[in-house]
Symmetry: C2
Subunit: 376 residues, 2 copies
Amino acid sequence: MQFLLDKTDGPARLGRVFTDHGVFHTPAFMPVGTQGTVKAIQPRELEEIGAEIILGNTYHLYLRPGTEILEQSGGLHKFNGWKKPILTDSGGFQVFSLSELRKISEEGVQFRSHLDGSTHFFTPENVVDTQRSIGSDIMMVLDECTPYPSTFEYAKRSGELTLRWAERCLNRFRETEGLYGYTQALFGIVQGSTFPELRKFSANGLVGLEFDGYAIGGLAVGEPTEAMYEMISVCTEILPENKPRYLMGVGTPENLLEAIERGIDMFDCVMPTRNGRNAMLFTSHGNLNITNAQFKNDFEPVDAKCGCYTCQSFSRAYVSHLFRAKEILGLQLATIHNLAFYQTLMKEARHAIACGEFAQWKKQRLFNQEEVTEYI
Amino acid sequence: MQFLLDKTDGPARLGRVFTDHGVFHTPAFMPVGTQGTVKAIQPRELEEIGAEIILGNTYHLYLRPGTEILEQSGGLHKFNGWKKPILTDSGGFQVFSLSELRKISEEGVQFRSHLDGSTHFFTPENVVDTQRSIGSDIMMVLDECTPYPSTFEYAKRSGELTLRWAERCLNRFRETEGLYGYTQALFGIVQGSTFPELRKFSANGLVGLEFDGYAIGGLAVGEPTEAMYEMISVCTEILPENKPRYLMGVGTPENLLEAIERGIDMFDCVMPTRNGRNAMLFTSHGNLNITNAQFKNDFEPVDAKCGCYTCQSFSRAYVSHLFRAKEILGLQLATIHNLAFYQTLMKEARHAIACGEFAQWKKQRLFNQEEVTEYI
């Protein structure tokens, strides 16, 4: 994997990440493909809307279909038909949010499957092995996503454990190879809750280990937005210029633009897909709940400025009807549009950085959006 | 609407139906778009698999979104983005199968909505009006779908009522015009349960009224398959050569081929879409329940002979995984494949008729299919 930083505009960065499955342009938004599919959308449609990399969840893929079937298939790309880059998380986040009876120790974390209650054990080493079986282009280290709020003491111990785990992941990564004839990269994850001192400790520790890229985890977990932005800046000031920076699990369009302005290159979030399935549509002039009565006979497109299949082919009235009638097509069209909205946002952000006009563009973009959100 | 009979091969017919929204080739299978969408598939995908006409359900569309919104939209084609021909049923079938407290009289049928319990009244005249609002290319008369089994007496009275309603529909049809600048056609419906004498009475009565085409209703409602085939022959021997013939709500691939051999031109059925959503996939060598354990690590396509997106892009193992994981994409891929299977079946049937080899082709097709269905 190679990262080229093409341009900066203040801390905002325009770049390209080259993998054996092709290049993706940063700032990049990665649609979330939890169980080996981005929900309610086909790989060819993801390409159509401009997605260049998707995310897979190691926890889910490990439990189902399992590494044996993924290996027999020749890796996740061959299994799910997505030929471009894939990033996988380590599974740690889902262990802490979904599974039962988890028990964390120096060695790793024991948990029970949310599917059948069976007991499993994740270690820094075996999550690398699992991601080797998955064959993702970018793998993540095992971390503890420090809960918010945490005491300084808890966050410190948790951050230190995450750092030790990161080193063990890196060792396993260096002593193994990809299973399918292409190379994989490994990113470290900065933790430290909302304590600048701990974030600095974590970031500096990881930088010393020399990962292919660096993620910032443990944000957007309930802390005030301003604290999130502050932590991002604390981290990006330390992280090396020549490696991509990935803010995990974030966020709203506004969050993304604020984070780009603070030097973030990569994002993932379930918001566009999950909110879409709940009838919430993003538009360039605010968010719509498409089931609202006012859209029953609104024959305009969801977003007149959007070039996606949904907006080019159907009216708000039709999408509204599909949601009222509980039709699967409604979920499909909402997913296509919301992901297209996020991809377009990233494309425009990249263009603004290329032109050296990021701050100005961001202000205008957020202004347009807030204005009409109020009226709706 | 114009029907051209291009070739016959015994009673089997090859033809074309010309409408203001384009031509469709017969024998034709119409995917069912109950609530203004064929479930889990996009209009562009329906075109991709070769569908040339779809069906809409007047009962559902009348209740939701309702004729007011359909009229404001400029008709169903503009509302749902399907630019090719649409046929609508009259709503009668759903009144009898879905609604509550229905009360049938000479005037029409009163019923309660299955959605909110509200009371409505369908008459031969107002179902034509509703289909004018929908703007379907082919409209159907209001009929009573005679239940099976029925006594001769009941079937006789029911068939006579359906015939009187057909004439009233035709009168309303002739004294009104399409709302959107294109023409619409009206088909009569033969009833008569499994009584040849009643089928003949009904068919002869309708032929005297001169409809644009003729449907055969009240079959595949529980009667023995042989009785269904016999009734089809009784009807097609009477129905005029120069008008299309539509067998309503049928059926399995075998049913379709047997009916084509008896002179049927058009079909609709929820089987490919509904069964697909229940993990049952049609293939050229038998049906698969894709959730069966044997498919977990079967990396062949669903049907190696099929050219659809599902078969060209994914394995049985992946589709099986999607169903196990309850992913919407599984429903999408199964729907695309099953409808493609039906469209391919019709395409091959048309080719066989064109070559004068229908009987021989049909035998081989059904043989291939039965052989492997047993082993699976």
